[in-house]
């Protein structure tokens, strides 16, 4: 089932912390330019799965491929090349606390791009403007709210025009209208650059609007409860738990 053009894929993947497996038997593949939403109750392992897919943690079993490469076995230069082509928004935003927002976005650009400082500045300002932070560029992470930090984290994840971007709860802390704008931004990025997106979200309407595929992690069985287009999760015939999660839009 692994097609070399798949951007993100995993086969019989087991994830967890230390030696403790929290989810296993995960297999799916995401073609280029598609948007995948990971859903499930709090603490079920969504962030952990994202880290494994993004190549930040080695799998506890099975394999995960990012841009066609298995990062657990790839050599260091290949690994870094792949990581450079992917962006990651952490659940806690993880901004560099000693740098201003602008410097946070400029940091990867300075490290990886060869263009002059002025262009880097323009790029950083543009990306911060995309997430509506044009007026907060010179603030430190400690001076902004949680939702703003999230958005700055998105701008940093987009800094190098990644081919795939991982967003862990990007809309947490945003009101429905702003989160709608964020959906639009994600769709536009995909449309303009063919960016592949993997995101964790609790907002069913937003998932229905943006995602092509959705994966439901079921903590009771310790594996994926369903994988498919989110609209299909609303129909009858799905595992009752999945159906309930989607139709009741239980937000934890």
């Amino acid at each position: 089932m692994s097609d070399p053009t798949d951007i993100v894929s995993c086969a019989d993947l087991a994830i967890g912390h230390g030696r403790k497996v929290i989810m296993d038997r995960l297999s799916f593949a995401l073609p280029a330019g598609r948007i995948l939403a990971i859903v499930g109750p709090s603490g079920c392992g969504k962030s952990t799965l994202m880290r494994a897919l993004g190549g930040l943690d080695a799998p506890l079993g099975g394999s995960a491929r990012l841009l066609g490469v298995d990062l657990a076995t790839a050599d260091e230069p290949a690994r870094q090349e792949i990581l450079r082509r992917s962006g990651f928004l952490f659940q806690g935003a993880a901004l560099f606390s000693s740098l201003t927002l602008r410097e946070n976005i400029e940091m990867p650009m300075r490290e990886f791009l060869r263009c002059p400082a002025k262009e880097i500045r323009q790029l950083a300002e543009y990306k911060l403007a995309l997430v509506g932070l044009a007026d907060a560029m010179d603030k430190l992470p400690s001076e902004i709210s949680g939702g703003m930090a999230k958005r700055a984290g998105i701008a940093r994840a987009m800094a190098l025009d990644p081919r795939v971007i991982f967003l862990d709860e990007p809309s947490a802390g945003l009101d429905p209208m702003s989160s709608g704008r964020l959906d639009e931004l994600i769709l536009r990025l995909r449309e303009a650059f063919g960016t592949t997106v993997v995101l964790v979200s609790h907002e069913i309407p937003s998932i229905l609007r943006t995602a092509d595929f959705c994966i439901y992690l079921d903590p009771e069985t310790g594996t994926m409860g369903a994988y498919g287009p989110p609209k299909s999760f609303l129909q009858a015939g799905q595992p009752p738990k999945v159906h309930a999660f989607f139709t009741q839009a239980r937000i934890d």
Binding site: F96, P116, E119, Q122, G146, G173
Partner: protein
């Protein structure tokens, strides 16, 4: 006239008779290539494309930057996807609900699970550090040089007062204790030899190393530990940057460079401290200084410097190592700082003992 869509990016402006400015853009726009620079005049500007090839975010960023202060920036002649990318940046205004920060418990709940094989990890960390150093030498490592210069200042220059004070007192104490013994055999003049030799070979490096553990190891452990807590090190890794190279290398280099300098400084101050006691009654200043200079050989000086290089490395490494394996909680950062100082001081004393044996073997 039309540009092949593979050319480098270009932009040119012309002003029409009716006062409209027209900006023509084209070529292939790539983050890595130099971008055209133009000055756009007028407050009504129309942008058109000609032979526009592939572009990444450098083009919307360029348009965003150039259109910012123009009242009417007409993009309607551009491809729709480009238009929307520029517009998104203009309109984006986000409202927030209450601050929903992830609860501490949710974030750090059970993150303390960690295997006990801490020695294996320590050696692994040393391995990564040396590998990073080798990669730095061949120019492959991404090192934060701003941190390097900052640490030269904070771990080096800023430590001068405390190093001076403790070095002075060490020399003073040694002279005092030495005199009590030497007076009994009537050889008080040798107090100068005692103090200067001990300061050069031993105490200068040791005191500075211990001070570095107290000031610098703990600082590094808490800096790196708290970057661990806020996932900043993860963010670095997600960018393909090795935290060891980016954060630890500059710190270790700076401290390994500064501690020997501080140790030499401490040695001189210590010899001076001894002089204050010795010359308070027993010796004249000339006597003391002649004896002191005679006692310090180049060999002893070298021994002191070699030791202090090692101690500097140990102190910095202990801090970086402890910080990088710190548990992800406020408590974990505190523990990291404590254990960094303990580890650093222990290793320094052990290393000092080893040095004593080795130098003895080689007759240094």
């Amino acid at each position: 006239m039309s540009q092949p869509p593979s050319g480098s990016p270009f932009a040119r402006t012309e002003v029409r008779a009716d006062g409209h400015a027209v900006v023509t853009i084209g070529g292939v726009w790539n983050l890595d290539d130099p971008l055209p620079s133009v000055v756009i005049r007028g407050d009504r500007v129309r942008v058109v494309s000609e032979g526009l090839g592939d572009f990444d975010s450098s083009l919307p960023a360029w348009l965003h930057a150039h259109g910012k202060n123009i009242r009417e920036f007409d993009l309607s002649a551009l491809p729709p996807r480009l238009q929307s990318l520029v517009r998104m940046a203009e309109k984006a205004a986000y409202q927030e609900t209450g601050d929903e920060k992830p609860g501490l418990l949710e974030q750090f709940g059970t993150w303390g699970v960690e295997s006990g094989s801490s020695w294996a990890r320590a050696f692994e960390h040393i391995g990564h550090t040396s590998l990073g150093f080798a990669r730095m030498l061949i120019g492959r490592a991404k090192v934060n040089w701003a941190d390097f210069s900052l640490q030269l200042q904070t771990a080096g220059v800023d430590a001068l007062p405390i190093v001076a004070l403790l070095g002075f007192l060490t020399g003073l104490i040694m002279a005092y204790v030495g005199l009590i013994q030497l007076r009994q055999v009537g050889a008080t003049v040798y107090v100068a030899n005692l103090v200067s030799l001990a300061m050069t070979r031993e105490m200068g490096a040791l005191m500075t190393g211990v001070i570095a553990c107290g000031r610098t190891s703990t600082a590094f452990a808490s800096q790196l530990g708290s970057m661990n807590v806020s996932q900043e090190t993860d963010a670095l890794r997600a960018l393909g940057i090795q935290p060891v190279e980016y954060l630890a290398l500059p710190r270790i280099l700076a401290v390994t460079l500064m501690v020997p300098l501080l140790a030499v400084f401490a040695t001189f101050v210590g010899v001076f401290g001894g002089m204050v006691v010795a010359c308070a009654g027993d010796l004249s200043i000339e006597q003391y200084l002649t004896q002191a200079v005679r006692a310090i050989s180049f060999k002893s000086f070298l021994v002191g410097v070699i030791k202090s290089v090692a101690f500097g490395f140990i102190a910095a490494w202990a801090g970086c190592y402890r910080g990088s394996v710190a548990k992800r909680s406020a408590l974990g950062v505190g523990e990291a700082a404590t254990s960094a100082a303990v580890l650093g001081i222990t290793l320094i004393v052990v290393a000092d003992a080893l040095f004593a044996v080795i130098f003895n073997l080689f007759n240094l």
